[in-house]
Structures are given as C-alpha cells and as structure tokens.
C-alpha cells in the first residue's frame, strides 16, 4: 500500500521532473528560469520528505531565492531582443547526444534498480532517528568539527569569488575590437 508520504513524493517528483524538463525545453529563457524556480521548490519539498528540513530551507533561500533571482536579473539585463536558435542543430549530433544521455540514464537506472530496488532494506523509509531540531544541531556540530576544514575553505572560496566577480566586471580590454 502506498502511504501519503509516497504520494507526496510522487507528486513532488513529478513536478520537479516536469518543470525540470521545462527548463530544458522552453524556448524563452525567462520561462526556463521560472521552471527552474519551481523545480527547486519541489526539490526542497523532496528534501522535506527526507526529513532534511534545514537543507530544504537553505535550498529555498539560496537557490529558489538568490540564485534564480540572479539568473532572472541577468536575463532581464541582457534584454534579448533578437530571436535566437534555441537548440543545437544537426540530426546526427542531437541523435548522439540523446543516445548518450539515454544510455547513461539506462545504465544508471538499471544499476540503481539492481542494487536498491531488489534489496528490501532500502524499501521502507527508516523512522527519523531524531527530531529535525536535533538533526540540524547535529548538522551544525559536524559542520564545525568534522568538516571544519572544508567549511573554512568554502569561506575562503567565497571571499575569492567575491573578489573575482568584481574583478571580472571591471576587466579592461586592450586595443583589440570584436570582429
């Protein structure tokens, strides 16, 4: 019997897939961006079904909030007037791309199925061991103990990226003009 949690998963999964496909398929980049937002939100929901509430929240704030807004902003900035070719051309090229992706998907699916679908231990979702607060606390603890090094490096990374992004926007050109 499928539980309500299952249905929730299917619903969210379907939404994320449909809109994920939308990102890829919509000709207008703005639509793609909007689809991306919805996908991100539904992915946040999926994180929720997995009891990762903190991460779900971060997902909403960082991705659906910040990152996507950034995308939309840039798109607005560009203000693309002229029509552009949306997809790559060439029957063979596209065929190969699709085939490669299909093969990859097929193999991923097959091996995931062979490993996890047949193994009953992975079937039912184990009961959440701790409350979500506790889990978030655990997360914080491991972030600042076990993963302290990575955390610090990430900090450095962000600083560097900040400098870098600013630098990029102020690059001055040489004598050469676009041809």
């Amino acid at each position: 019997m499928l539980s309500s949690a299952d249905f929730l998963f299917y619903f969210l999964g379907l939404v994320s897939l449909v809109f994920g496909l939308g990102v890829v398929l919509f000709r207008n980049p703005i639509y793609s961006a909007l689809c991306l937002v919805i996908t991100m939100i539904s992915v946040a929901g999926i994180f929720g079904t997995l009891d990762a509430w903190f991460i779900a929240g971060v997902q909403l704030i960082v991705y659906a909030g910040a990152v996507t807004v950034l995308f939309v902003m840039v798109l607005m900035l560009f203000d693309l007037k002229h029509e552009m070719k949306t997809f790559s051309k060439g029957v063979i090229g596209n065929g190969v791309k699709l085939a490669a992706s299909g093969v990859l998907l097929g193999m991923l699916g097959t091996y995931i199925w062979a490993t996890y679908a047949t193994e009953p231990t992975f079937k039912p979702l184990p009961a959440a061991a701790t409350s979500s607060i506790k889990a978030t606390k655990d997360l914080a603890t491991s972030l600042f103990t076990t993963y302290i090094f990575s955390f610090e490096v990430i900090g450095i990374l962000l600083l560097v990226i900040a400098v870098g992004a600013v630098t990029l926007s102020r690059i001055t050109g040489g004598t050469h003009h676009a041809d």
């Binding site: 090229g93 190969v96 791309k97 085939a99 490669a100 093969v103 990859l104 193999m107 091996y111």
Partner: protein, 643 residues
C-alpha cells in the same frame, strides 16, 4: 739464409723503389732518366732472381729458396706470412718476367720518349713489376692474390694511361671489372681451399692433399675449389667467357701490351694452375673444363684474329688464342708443357708486340694494317726480328714456338686426360694461327706499300731495337730446353728433369698415356705441314692475289660479318647483361627506394596526418560538441567497464 732474405728484399723492392722514384717526380718530362732508373730497377731484380735461381742448380741444389719477412695477417686459424719462395716453377716465371721486363722497359725508353708523362708511365710499369713479382713469388694464395689484383690495378692504370680519350679510359675500366669477376672466383677458391686444408700456403696445401683421393664428381670440394680458381684464371688470362677485355686493353701504350697483355700478367692464370697442379690432378673434371675452355678459346680467338685490321688487335687475339693453348695443356695434365709455352710465348709474343710497337712508332701511331704494307724496306731490323717471331709462333722448327706447341698438341693427343677432338681443335687452331700471322706479315711488311704519303716510316733507335734483337734470339733458342723425347731418342729433356719434383704426373688412376713414337712423329708432321700450308695460303691471299680476300668475304658475307664483329660477344654482353643491369638498377632505385620504401614511410606519415586531421576536425570549437564528447565518452566508458 740471411743473404737470401736480402736478395729477396732487393728483388722485390727494386721495382718498388723505381716506382717511388718515378712516382714522386711524376711531372718530370725526362724520359731518359725515368726510363733508365726503371730499367735498372728491373734489371737489378733480374740479377737477384738469377742469383736466387742459381741456388736451385748444381751439386748442392736446394728444392726451393724462400724467405719470410713478417706475419701479414693472423686471425683465428688464418695465418698469412709475407713469405716468398722460388722453386722450379716460379724460377722460370721470375726469370721470364724480370728478363723480358727489363727488355720491355728498355724498349719503352725509346717508345715513350715523346710522351707527356714518361715518369708516370715508368712508375706504373715498375709498380706492375713489383706486383707481378708478388704474384709469382708469394708463398701463399693470399700473397698471390695481392699481386693478382695489383697487376690488375696496374693494367687498369696503364690501359687508361692516355685517359683523356674516353674509350681508352673505358677499356681500362673494362679490364679491371672483368678481372674483378675472375678475382671474385679466385677469392671463393681461396676460401674453399682454406676451409678444406686450413691453410693458404701452396706447399702446405700440396702436402695436405689426400693421397690418391681423386674426386670424380662435380661437387667435391677440390673440384669446386679448382673451378673457382679457374674462374679467376679465365679473368686474368682472358679465356672464354671473360676474354673480352684483352683486345680492348690494346688501348694502352704498346710496350704495356707487350709486357702485361702478352708476356707476363695474362699468363698468371696458367701459372696459378701450374702452381697448384697436384690439386688440379685430384679434380679431373675441373681439368676437363680447363681443357675444353682452353681449346675453345684458342680456336675462337684465332678465328677472330683472321679478320682484324688493327695490328695490335690481331696480336691480342693471337695472345688469347695462345693462352688457350696453355690452358689446354694444363687441362690435359701437361702442366710442364703449359709453363713451357708460357715461356716461349713470352719471348715471341713480346717480340712481336714490341715489333708492332716499333711499327706503330714508325707509322706515327697508325695501327691499321691496311695503311701499311711493304714496310720491310723501311724497318729492316724490325722486320727481321718480327720474322723470327712469326716463325716461332706458327711453329716452324727449331724456333721456340714449335717445341712448346708441339709438346702441347702431343700431350693432348696422348694424355689420359686428353682427347682426340681436342687435338683436332689444337691442330686447326695452329693452322689458323699460321694463316693470320702470315696475313699480318704480308699486310705489314710485305707486298705493296699502302703507306700514306705524308707518313715517313723510319727505323727505331737502338734502345728500341736491341730488345727486339735479344728477344729474337730468345725466340729462336728458347725452345731448345724442351726438345721432344722422340727427337732426343727417348731421353727426358732438360725441362722435364727440371720439373721432375714439382709437377706431378697424371695419376695412374686416370689411365695411361699413349707411348708411340710413330704416332708422335705423325702428329708432329700433320700439324707442321698444316701450318705451312696455311702460311702459303695466306701468302697467296695477301701478297700474290690481294683481291681474293675481299671476294671471299663477299661470298661468305654472313660468316665474315660474324667473325669480323668478334661473334658479337661484346654486343651480347652489353645487350643482355650490362644494360639490363643498369636498367634494373635504375628501376631498383626508382621503385624500391623512392617509390616503395620511402613511399611506405610517407604513407605512415600520411596516416598519422590523416588521424591528426580527423582528430582536428572533431575539435570544432563548438562548446556543446565538447560536452557531447564528455557525455559520449562517459557513456562508452561506463558501458565498456560495466558490460
């Protein structure tokens, strides 16, 4: 012994010193000085050899005189001494070579007096003598080979002495290369003998011959060795099929022809066979080959001699023919007779060549006998000496040629190794020889003068005619050491006693010689009378009835052309061997080197470039294409790993 060593050293080095002397001042035009030094050098050698040979005579005679200077080569089992030996065989050769050599050198002083480079000429001539002495005196095959190639080299240089003439240079080259073919065979012979007997020393080889081990087949090692050696001999001694160089070699100065291409060098092949006579007797099949080739050469060369117009060419073919006789002698086991003929031939042929040199000298380098005739009155001494040479070569007793030729013919008929057919060929050749030699005499000295008006023939100076005179004497008396047994009443002649120890008799196993005095007399008579008849015939043709030869040539047009053109042998060689070889070489170069091997490497390079441009063409610059490669690469990698 010490004195012998010094004597040998002087004997060998005297010509070498002469060579160095003249070689260093090769630019000098002083023919007299150059010639006198050169002649003296050879004369010193002659004296030394006389002193050495004298030790073989008398009461306390030794079987051989020898000396060793140093060890030349020592590799593995091959130990070659620079050692020299004079025994009963080499004694005759060394005396002939140095003796006749002295005379020819002397003659050259006059002959080359007006040449541009007399010193160079005498240097070469001395160097030739040095090499010839190495060839004769060397105690082993390798030293003989050194001389063998050395004389070839000198012959090359001397034939091409007037090198600005392309044809003369070509003749020199032809001589060297043809000789090389023979030399290659000689080398193989040396190898075979070395691995058979473990030595290249003549005396040791002969000592190690298996007793009574006569090889009857064709593939036995000794037969093979003998055949290889005989290839060498055909090259050096101008036998079929390698005789073609000798007529061309007449491009050199005439004394050179006399010395090298008549008296000495060309007889080296005979000498070599005689030196190894016990070995050849072990291989009767090889001897048969020698005999047949000898007889064939004698006959064919003689026929060509019938039609030639160049005085030196006639003598050259005669030389080839006479060499054929010598090989015939060796082939039937009459090594002594062969060597005997070498000696007498050296006398009379040198005489005739020098005589022709004198004629050419007198005629201002004219060699065509059609432009001569009646020279007797201009050149009396030359004519007289040439006349003696003529008598000797056509075999009129008591001149030298008679005894040696008769000995050969009788041995051919009587020896167990001989054959009647060979005898017939021999007699026929003797007749033809008689004919063309008489023809030569008639056209040159007798009959009407056809000398162009602007030419004024004159007799040679003494320095040139004295050698002629000496040689004429030798041609007369030289044969008396080998008077046939029948004439001596069954007693061995001097020559036979001389060769007693060094020339083996034909082994019993091969059969017995015919001993019939009557038969011998008869054979002698037949050949003599045939020669005389042919001589008379020739006289009729060319003096009494000069138009007859032309008519005859008209009538037998085809045959005449064939013979006049020397059976087209040179043309055959060019058309069938040399030109195809050159074409093939060009083909090899063009097709194998350039088109195949290089092309293959280019193809490899092209393949690499092709793969490269394919790889390049995948690099389209399109970002998504690159992403696709990543995706495809991932998919394929995963598939391959997980399959």
């Amino acid at each position: 012994m010490m004195s012998n060593q010094i004597l040998f050293a002087i004997l060998l080095l005297a010509p070498f010193v002469g060579f160095m002397f003249n070689g260093i001042r090769w630019k000098s035009h002083n023919a007299t000085l150059a010639g006198v030094v050169a002649t003296f050098a050879v004369f010193v050698s002659f004296v030394c050899s006389l002193l050495l040979v004298s030790q073989l005579f008398g009461a306390n005679a030794v079987p051989s005189v020898g000396t060793r200077f140093f060890e030349w080569m020592n590799v593995g089992g091959l130990q070659v001494q620079a050692g020299f030996v004079i025994d009963h065989i080499s004694a005759i050769m060394v005396l002939v070579v140095t003796g006749v050599g002295t005379l020819i050198h002397m003659f050259s002083i006059g002959y080359m007096s007006h040449d541009e480079r007399p010193s160079k000429y005498f240097a070469y001539l001395n160097f030739f003598l040095f090499n010839m002495l190495l060839l004769i005196l060397g105690e082993n095959l390798l030293l003989m080979f050194v001389g063998w190639e050395g004389v070839g080299l000198c012959s090359y240089l001397l034939i091409g002495f007037w090198f600005t003439d392309s044809e003369k240079a070509a003749a020199g080259m032809k001589a060297f290369i043809t000789n090389r073919i023979g030399d290659a065979g000689f080398l193989l012979g040396i190898f075979t003998l070395f691995f058979l007997f473990g030595t290249v020393n003549f005396s040791e080889i002969i000592a190690r011959l298996p007793a009574g081990g006569i090889e009857m087949g064709w593939t036995g090692p000794m037969t093979v060795a003998c055949l290889f050696l005989f290839v060498g001999a055909t090259g050096k001694s101008a036998q079929i099929p390698l005789y073609v160089w000798l007529p061309d070699a007449m491009a050199g100065p005439t004394p050179v022809s006399a010395l090298i291409h008549a008296a000495t060098m060309v007889t080296a092949g005979v000498y070599m066979i005689v030196r190894l006579n016990p070995l050849f007797l072990m291989a009767p099949n090889a001897l048969h080959v020698v005999a047949v080739v000898g007889a064939a050469t004698a006959f064919f060369a003689a026929t060509i001699g019938l039609t030639q117009w160049d005085i030196k060419k006639i003598l050259a073919y005669s030389t080839v023919s006479q060499l054929g006789y010598m090989f015939l002698a060796c082939g039937v086991g009459a090594f002594g007779a062969g060597l005997f003929h070498v000696m007498t031939h050296a006398f009379f042929k040198a005489l005739m060549f020098l005589g022709s040199g004198s004629v050419i000298h007198a005629m201002h380098e004219e060699q065509d006998v059609r432009k001569m005739g009646g020279l007797r009155k201009y050149l009396p001494i030359t004519h007289a000496t040439f006349f003696i040479g003529w008598l000797a070569i056509i075999g009129i007793p008591p001149f030298a040629g008679f005894f040696s030729k008769d000995e050969i013919l009788w041995q051919t008929a009587s020896s167990p190794l001989g054959h009647k057919a060979l005898w017939v060929v021999g007699v026929l050749t003797a007749g033809i020889t008689s004919f063309y030699m008489t023809r030569l005499m008639c056209l040159t000295f007798w009959g009407k003068s056809r000398v162009p008006k602007e030419t004024h023939p004159h007799e040679a100076p003494p320095v040139m005619w004295i050698p002629l005179a000496v040689l004429a004497v030798l041609s007369t008396v030289g044969g008396w050491i080998g008077i046939p047994k029948v004439m001596l009443g069954g007693e061995d002649n001097w020559l036979e006693r001389w060769f007693h120890h060094v020339i083996a008799p034909v082994p019993e196993a091969l059969g017995h010689a015919v001993h019939s005095h009557a038969l011998e007399w008869a054979a002698m008579g037949v050949s003599l009378s045939f020669a005389v008849i042919m001589a008379c015939l020739a006289y009729t043709f060319y003096v009494s009835n000069p138009s007859l030869p032309g008519r005859l040539a008209q009538k037998f047009h085809g045959t005449y052309r064939l013979i006049y053109n020397k059976y087209f042998v040179d043309e055959f060689y060019f058309a069938r061997i040399i030109n195809p070889l050159i074409d093939a070489s060009k083909g090899l170069w063009a097709y194998v080197d350039v088109n195949f091997i290089d092309r293959t490497t280019y193809v490899l390079g092209d393949v690499v470039r092709g793969v490269g441009s394919t790889a390049k063409s995948f690099q389209t610059g399109n970002l998504q294409q690159y992403a696709m490669y990543i995706a495809v690469g991932l998919a394929v990698t995963m598939f391959l790993i997980l399959r």
